[in-house]
Symmetry: C4
Subunit: 256 residues, 4 copies
């Protein structure tokens, strides 16, 4: 196996599909958003991506099973609009430029082959090392139309600077190359390993933009658990910037 | 040489071959099990795997000879059952994801081409940094049938969590992809460089499962040598967790 | 995307084109020279090079846009001589030998396909860790003729020793292989992150050699800003060798 | 350029050619031997090997020229025996396993295509961190015949253990694979960056084995210069193991 490959699990009928990419990264914001959507939308597996550029490890499962590391496409339907929602989640991203270019180009081409036209990737945007209580959502997008659409919905455009690492950035850049609409939504975060608050902020934007009806109570629960831990640490004299609160119990099992 | 290659040393007649993979890794458990089986079963060389993903070094031999690093397939026959036993041992594993994916996929395909249906890989499972006197054997497997078979034989299923690195994990994951039965047996170990006790625990399980009759006295000798060294170190005030006992004299020459 | 690719933006008519390579590197000398020429010569985009060997990140733009990292060819005309001037600038260079060999060979072949015969690359040459007030320009070149031409124009030949890293070196070495004339001009610099003084020294040589009429006032402004900062730091007791002055405000936005 | 390539400089008539490989490595022993033979045998360039696996840098030359890094084959004739002597020297070795496998396999195949049957590689063998005044020469070889030949000439066989890194090891291992005779001669050395004494020891063995008549006075000069420096350092209270004497002035220019 020397190339990235995508295998169909089930060929579903799709209607004007939109892709939401929620992969591991800063603050675990992408994975939290992706897994939350997958769960609440009760999405089914569409396809699985394997790659020799993932870490050379097999993932152990709770039932004693074992599998290759993967990125996984799930699909569901937006009940309000009838639009197909495709969600990409996964165990990891590639660790090299060559691997990232191969995988992310492949993802965009696969989605294009499904008839898709618009991709939203999700990431974290780290500005300070303070817990961010009211996280903003920053955005970049491939074209004027998508940028103005994001801006109308309160996403801050043109202020984030520098580079977006990994799939969250490259998938949007490849969308442009393949003439799709692409945007990256970045929840403001601050050094937390798992920042459910930043994820919630992005989910709220996606809800409005995609006219999705998503229950946010489970992500709210993780958010509150984290905030309580941070308060306890502060009481105990720990500076939230110096020390990580232990990741909340739920999201880990929830993500895997 | 830019791809992994497997060369036949001798094409033997095989009957329902089972593959046991014992390569270098945590606690040297894999190599100890592999080399012990090779020796006690008096196995003959079947094939040799070379790869440009192994370290760029030539191995010096005791007779003044020199050779490329390799992984080596040996074969023998289970005298009780008539089943062919194939054992994979070697000098090293690849150091990159791309190399590991290439080599381990090749290994599974090669074994499948021999008519094989079941693969057991062997590794160490490191929980504490204490010497483990009564090591348990943890397992993961590709399918329900194999999992229940392992469980019946006292292998602990569904408790090990996280990832299995390298060949021990990827060969099992690729077994699944190529529709073979695969399992990884992990001997509980604790920071020892060469843990013959963990290896013995795995060998005992393999014996029962494969109805093999293997003399364990030589591995027992290494185990006792290590335990004596640990006792002496404790007497001398050394904490077994902090300091490695020198690896026993025997297994090194025995493995090379 | 698994290979470096060059896409035309506009096929212009070129006359005896010369290539000037100004990519990121020591003292940002290359980028400063390249971007300064691109601006003052009002050059238009000719072609864009993408590569899976660039860092796996997407570049955020000021307007909220986003794009793949790239190296970019611009073209303009020397009004005095009618010669086409091609300028190569970019966000980054590859991080591995394999990537650098692929990209730089491709660049030289692309320029050769345009009918070009001569390439000048620009870099910094770091000798001391003092700010260099009167930077010399050191050179290496592919052939006797080019070397004597450089020498006539005050470029110091045969004194720089060792190796020229990255595109500045490899493009010249590949020029030789493809039977083009190539030279690397290295502005003497000393540990500054952005050394406009070294860039100015190289620009002055290029002006003479290519009979170019380039306004140097904007690069002079950056140079003076840096020198004022260094003076203030010295007054405040800081040793210029120990501490970097903050990069001047202008060149960063100017380069991006 | 994405593969290692060998270009002929001049196709000479060769008689029963033997290859001596003297590339950079431990104690610079290989390069010292290779360059000494090239100089004293007045060898001519036969072929040049380029590789994208060498460091991404261009080598500056004394005349202001510049070139790709390379490994270079030179040829001469043993005046006593009429045998063609081919010498391989170079700027560097590849830094990755994949690069090393590609280059060294290519070298052996190229030499085989010249009708060659025997290869000697040269390296350093580092045992202590003391300067070795009477260095022994250790050897490994592909076959019994070559091993007994080395032993007859005082090369110590079967005592060096572990692995031989890089070209010195892999070229011999690939010789075996391509059914040539191969041997690695390792001069005992101790932490010196440039150890002319170890090189001299190897040269003396090669002289006898190949019936070569080589003037050793220039390498002797380097050796004495180093020894004088070590004595001065000892007088000044410096421990030879802790501190490197500056490399002698001659060999550097001599090697480049």
């Amino acid at each position: 196996m020397d190339k990235t490959k995508i295998y169909y699990n089930k060929r579903g009928k799709l209607k004007d599909p939109v892709l939401i990419v929620g992969l591991p990264g800063i603050g675990t914001v992408g994975s939290l958003v992706g897994e939350h959507l997958r769960n609440t939308l009760n999405a089914k597996r569409l396809a699985t991506l394997y790659s020799p550029h993932f870490l050379h490890q097999a993932i152990m499962m709770k039932n004693g099973g074992v599998r290759l590391a993967s990125n996984r496409f799930y699909y569901s339907t937006n009940e309000k609009t009838g639009q197909s929602i495709i969600i990409l989640v996964g165990d990891m991203q590639a660790g090299t430029p060559e691997g990232q270019y191969e995988i992310n180009d492949r993802i965009v081409q696969f989605f294009k082959s499904l008839g898709g036209k618009t991709i939203y990737t999700v990431g974290g945007y780290n500005i300070s090392n303070q817990y961010v209580t009211k996280p903003r959502v920053f955005g970049v997008a491939t074209d004027k139309e998508t940028r103005s659409d994001l801006q109308k919905n309160g996403v801050i455009m043109g202020q984030a600077a520098g580079a977006v690492w990994g799939s969250a950035g490259l998938i949007v850049a490849f969308s442009k190359k393949h003439k799709l609409h692409g945007a990256c939504l970045m929840g403001e975060t601050g050094m937390l390993e798992i920042d459910a608050n930043a994820a919630k902020a992005v989910l709220e934007k996606l809800q409005v933009m995609l006219k999705l009806d998503v229950d946010l109570s489970s992500i709210d629960k993780i958010k509150k658990e984290t905030e309580n831990l941070l308060k306890e640490m502060e009481k105990a004299g720990g500076a939230p910037g110096d020390q990580q609160p232990p990741p909340p119990s739920q999201p880990l099992s929830y993500i895997r």
